[in-house]
Amino acid sequence: MNKIAFFILTAVLCAGSVQAQKHFTREGKISFYSDAPMEKIEAHNQQATAVVDFATGAIEFAALIKAFQFEKALMQEHFNENYMESTKYPKATFKGQIIEPGKIDLKKDGTYSVKVKGALTMRDVTKDVDTEATFVVSKGVVSATSAFKVAVADYGISIPKVVAEKIAKIVDVKVDVKLAALAK
């Protein structure tokens, strides 16, 4: 019977330590940049939510489309109304995996570059995204940055001819998050 108790205890402790390796944010920064011949457009979302499980390498992001702020109000309206249809598709989500989560040592300050593979869902369309991410551990604070490209046509967004010179077909996306340990 002692053996069983030992196993259960070990298992529970293990599970506990795995839980402590989950980090999160509700104020993740996601920005995108469209660099077209006639117009440069950028938008910033500072309210993205993200959870990273360093034990398994699992990553999840969610961002409200309406929370992207543009320099021009009309651009923001068109982004929501005509391109992203944010009432119909309110969120963009990313589910992915750090390829070698073991490379990141949360107990040791340092900069860790890892590969991330995952799937980005917008407007009900899911596409694979392969990218690199940089995790920085500094005095117990974990932050991460990443950048990747998104082809707008992949997500069923069509750009009318009249604005073809103003909106890039491929948009740069940048992610910048500061993570805190998840207490649960």
Binding site: F7, A11, A15, T56, E71, A73, E77, N80, V163
Partner: protein
């Protein structure tokens, strides 16, 4: 006994593993669903702050200046001689400025009777869902207009106040679906001076307007303004307008047919003379071009 232990061990391991896997399956659910804690405001019920002549429930966005060039040509019954009215045009040039999310102001100058107008529009309710659930948008609108024609009879005593007109309006509307919006505009127009004693200084009216999107960038609009009976001389009619909104990047083109000549409340509500039945209808347009003046703080 040994098998029983093993069995117990496997059960517990399986349970723990299942728990782990489930957590991995949806990490974000660990944060809880906070969607209900945010307020989601309905936006773009109409493409601009005008339906056609009437103010729509939308305001110019904060920090944005909207330059409006509006034309109403002559009536279609002018025939080919006036190329269906295109030979004649009345113009209003306007500047609308969004001050905050709720407050907008504007100035305009109409060629018709050389009239200057200014308005203040304040949204006191915004349609939203989520944390704050409000079914409609409601705004108060007040405008003043100064007609600056030379006095018809300069020899008699003319008062400056005779040139002034006021409009007070409540705008109640709802974006019912992505494509369809509707609004009611109970209005009162006050004229300090009327031409004959048969006309009343105060003209209560009810405007009704709707927008239906035809595609992402084209919408059809209609508005009708019912004026309370016995307030106007018999030659005046209710205003009825139908038009299209066409959106290109930074511009909105509103093309329409209306039986009103004037582009300000006092005129299109209380002084519309054209008759749809007799082709007394004007082709017209509003062109809106927006400029970002400052970046509102979020």
């Amino acid at each position: 006994m040994a098998t029983k232990r093993l069995h117990l061990f496997f059960t517990i391991s399986a349970l723990l593993l299942a728990g782990l896997l489930q957590a991995q399956d949806d990490l974000l659910s660990l944060l809880g669903d906070d969607a209900a804690e945010e307020t989601d405001y309905a936006t773009a019920a109409f493409k601009t702050n005008r339906v056609i002549n009437l103010h729509s429930l939308e305001n110019t966005a904060p920090g944005v200046m909207d330059f409006k060039i509006s034309h109403r040509f002559g009536t279609l019954d002018g025939g080919l001689y006036n190329i269906f009215g295109l030979d004649l045009a009345t113009i209003r040039l306007g500047l609308d400025l969004g001050v905050t999310d709720n407050l907008a102001i504007g100035l305009g100058r109409s060629s018709l009777e050389k009239t200057y107008d200014g308005y203040v529009k304040y949204k006191f309710l915004r349609q939203s869902t989520g944390k704050r659930n409000v079914p409609i948008t409601a705004a108060l609108f007040a405008s003043a207009a100064i007609q600056t024609l030379k006095w018809a009879e300069p020899d008699r005593e003319n008062l400056f106040s005779s040139r002034l007109y006021y409009t007070f309006q409540l705008i109640l509307g709802r974006k019912i679906s992505d494509g369809f919006s509707v609004q009611l505009s109970p209005t009162i127009v006050h004229r300090n001076l009327v031409r004959t004693s048969a006309e009343k200084n105060d003209v209560p009216a009810l405007g009704i307007a709707a927008r239906q999107k035809l595609s992402k960038r084209i919408a059809v609009n209609a508005e009708y303004i019912y004026v309370m009976p016995d307030r106007l001389a018999p030659e005046f009619r209710n205003s009825l307008s139908i038009g299209f909104d066409i959106e290109t990047g930074g511009h909105v083109f509103q093309l329409h047919f209306t039986n009103s000549t004037s582009m300000i409340e006092r005129g299109f509500i209380a002084e519309t003379t054209g008759s749809w039945a007799d082709m007394g209808v004007h082709f017209g347009f509003n062109i809106s071009r927006v400029f970002t003046m400052w970046q509102p703080k979020r």
